[in-house]
Amino acid sequence: MFPTCPAVEASGVRRTFGRRRAVDGVDLSLNAGDCLALFGPNGAGKTTLLRLIAGLLKPTSGSVQVCGRILRDDAAARAHVGLISHQSMLYRALTARENVEFAARLYGVPDPAAAAVDALERLRILDRADAPVRALSRGLQQRVSIARAIVHQPDVVLLDEPYTGLDAAGGAALTDMLHVLRSSGAALILVTHNVEEGLAIASHAAVMLDGRLVRHDDCATLDPRAYVAEYRELVLRGAADEESLDVEATA
């Protein structure tokens, strides 16, 4: 686990695509058992930040470490991380079980078949384990995708809009699983547009606007209702500023 260093540490992370700064100088530190809910409007840079932490993108400057190790350069360190992305990252021609078992084998889980069954059961989708993924609904595919991401019991779980497409049962299964992961000491980063949902699970909350972390709070000291109102105001103000900049640019 992470006895001495933060589970996730980002310092001065910047990532540009051409001239656009998708992530602009983000500092972040997360310990084992922490859950950070990351809010922000579309295009704020949340997904890019998750991809930087997962090692899928290289920072233009700054550094991202998971337990003191840079994932891009350290294959073994990647075994500590689980990623749930916008896309399911599943193979449609394979069954749910085959997809999860394949992931378990890639991570070197000792008993991949049993681990796959356990993960699918936790997401309450074991009864559809032998159906090809292409035959499953969007919500069920999302559950399989989550099972795939947690089959190796990662220490850091990165979740990008994980509730998208889930019905009430799927959402409840995911929330239960996130609580279990946290109590077992995993650090979570949850990107979501649903502020109430995020605050219910998280220990910390942050808001991202235009690639920057503009607010970072400890959930223990937050009034959720006031936070929701403040967040909406922040986002609307950000959108208005952007619009006025666009108008100025056009003029």
Partner: protein, 231 residues
């Protein structure tokens, strides 16, 4: 956390290859399109030449390598295409396996896929062009296998590079074919001699160059592959 012991490079490569073959076995789309193309091309080439001017056995080596190169491209096209649909490639990249293992896995999968196509193409060629069965055909199969290693090494790399582009289907042949030339040239020279029933020693210099190209392409493409994944 469970004690994990991630597979080594070759173990991981085999996992990736097995997964690709399982997907192909379920869908069979690329296999059938490559196979149908190969057989149809053999037929067309057979009727396109006047038998009284060039004997079928003399045409066979050229036909074999043209058909093989283009049917290989059809198969290679799908290699990274199936990773793109739901970004399965991201799941591979965040896993603890090396980038080289991903490349080798894809290449092994492609090689087995192309071998399966050749299992039908070579007998069909022998049938259409009245080739001597037995030892010459076995040697030709060996040459095909050697050539396939180089073709797959290059094609897999360029398939990864082309997949994210708008003109992927055009880009893969444009990038790959110039690099196929040295392989095809040496393989065709060796095949011509074998099918003319000349001693194997005559083909050996061409085969040595072919083997050298295989080694260079496999090593160079494995080392270059991680750079194709940079966004």
């Amino acid at each position: 956390m469970t004690t994990l012991s991630a597979p080594g490079t070759f173990g991981a490569a085999w996992l990736v290859a097995r997964k690709d073959l399982a997907i192909e076995f379920r869908t069979r789309t690329a296999f059938f399109s490559a196979l149908v193309f190969a057989v149809l091309a053999l037929c067309i080439f057979y009727f396109a030449w006047d038998e009284s001017i060039i004997a079928p056995a003399q045409r066979a080596p050229g036909v074999l390598w043209v058909v093989l190169a283009f049917s290989a491209l059809l198969g290679l096209q799908r290699s990274f295409g199936l990773e793109e649909h739901d970004r399965g490639i991201d799941a591979l990249l965040v896993s603890p396996i090396s980038r080289e293992a991903i490349y080798l896995g894809k290449a092994i999968g492609n090689l087995l896929f192309l071998c399966a196509i050749q299992l039908v193409t070579i007998p069909a060629l022998a049938l259409f062009y009245n080739l001597p069965v037995g030892r010459p055909l076995l040697v030709v199969t060996g040459i095909v296998l050697l050539a396939m290693i180089g073709i797959v090494a290059i094609g897999t790399l360029f398939s990864a590079m082309a997949v994210n582009t708008r003109l992927a289907e055009l880009l893969l042949p444009m990038l790959s074919l110039p690099f196929f030339v040295p392989i095809l040239m040496n393989a065709a020279q060796a095949t011509t001699r074998v099918l003319a029933d000349r001693p194997l020693a005559e083909s050996w210099p061409w085969l040595k160059i072919l083997i050298a190209f295989d080694i260079v392409f496999v090593v160079a493409c494995t080392l270059a592959f991680p750079f194709t994944l940079e966004e």
